[in-house]
Amino acid sequence: MGDLWQSTVQFPTAVNITVYIILVVLALSGLYFIWVRGRAAGFTMRWSTQDILVLAIMGVLLEVYDNLIGDQFVTPVLKLLPASDIIHDFAINDLPYMFLLMVGIALIRKPYVATALVFLNFLLMQLLYPGDKSSVLWWPYGIYQGLLVDIYFVLRGQHIFEVANIRAFWDGLIMGAVRAVPAVTISAVILGPLLTGSTDTFGDVVLNGSLNLVGNGLEAAITAGLAIYVAHSVSRTSTHEVIAQEDVAQAAEVSQKGGAS
C-alpha cells in the first residue's frame, strides 16, 4: 500500500492523448446538455447586458483574488500554521474565491454562469501570467471547474439560489465540491503529465483531490447564504422569481381592493 501511495502517476502518452480526447468530447457533451436541460427546465437562456457586465466584473475579481490578493494576504498567513501542506490541500485560501463565485452565480442565475465565470478567470490568468499553462490545450481544466457546477445548476431547476435557506447550503456544498473534483484530478493525472511533463504521486493526487473536494464544498456551503443576500442587495433582478411572486401578490391585493370598493 505504501508503494502505491508513493508511486508516480504517469500513463503512457497514447493513453493520455486518448483520455484527453474523451475528456474534450465529454466537456462538449456536457455543455450541450446544459443548453438542452436549461431550456427544458424553463431557464431564461438569453443573457442580458447586466449579466454580461456582472460576468466581466466578477471574472476579473476572481482572477485578481486567485492570483494576487490570496497570494499576498491569505497564503502567507496559512504557511505560518502547523501542517500547512494539509491546510493548503484543504484550499482554505480559496474561501474568498468560493464566496465570489457564489455571488456571481447568485447574481446571474442562468445556465453556463459557473463555466463562464471560472473560464473567464482562467483566460485572464493565461493572458496576464503567461507560462506553461498559457495554452489552448489547458482549456479543459478551466471548463471542467465550472461544467459540473452548471450541470447541477440546471438539474436543480429555476429555484436554485433563490432564497438563503438550508437548501442553499446544500446547493453550495455540492457546487463547491464538483468545482474542485474532477478538475484538479484531471489536471494532475492527465493534463500535467501530457502538456507540461509534471507528475504527482498517487498519494498526492488522492489527498489533494479529496481534501479539495471537502474544503471547496464547505467553503461554498457556508458562503452561499451570504452570497444570496449580497446578490439580492445589489440587484433585485437576481430574484426575478421572487419579484414575479411579489407582483402577483400585489396585483391580487389591488384587485381585491378594487372589488371591495
Binding site: 447586466q50 457586465l53 466584473i57 475579481l61 494576487l68 501570467y129
Partner: protein, 90 residues
C-alpha cells in the same frame, strides 16, 4: 444595474489603490507576468477592466430613461394605479 455600477466603481478604485501601493513597494511574487510587468500593474490593469465594465453599466442604466423621456407624452395624466416601472430591470 446602477448599484452594480456603483459597487464596481468602489471595487475598482480600491484595486487601483492596492495596485499603486504594490507598484510603489515593488511587490513581486516571482511569477512571470505579462510583458514582465510588476504584480501591481496587473492589479491596475484588472481594475481598469472593472472600471470600464462599471462605466458601461452606468451608460446602460441611463439609456432606458432617455428613451422614456424622448417618447411622446400622453395628453392626459396617467391614473395613479399605473404600475411603476422597475428601472433596475435592464
Amino acid at each position: 444595474m446602477n448599484r452594480i455600477a456603483l459597487v464596481g466603481v468602489i471595487l475598482g478604485v480600491l484595486l487601483v489603490a492596492d495596485g499603486l501601493y504594490m507598484v510603489a513597494t515593488n511587490y513581486n511574487d516571482g511569477e512571470t507576468q505579462l510583458f514582465g510587468l510588476l504584480d501591481g500593474w496587473i492589479v491596475v490593469i484588472s481594475a481598469g477592466v472593472i472600471l470600464l465594465a462599471s462605466l458601461l453599466a452606468f451608460v446602460f442604466t441611463g439609456r432606458p430613461a432617455k428613451t422614456a423621456a424622448a417618447a411622446p407624452q400622453p395628453a392626459t395624466p396617467q391614473p395613479a394605479t399605473t404600475p411603476e416601472v422597475k428601472s433596475e430591470q435592464a
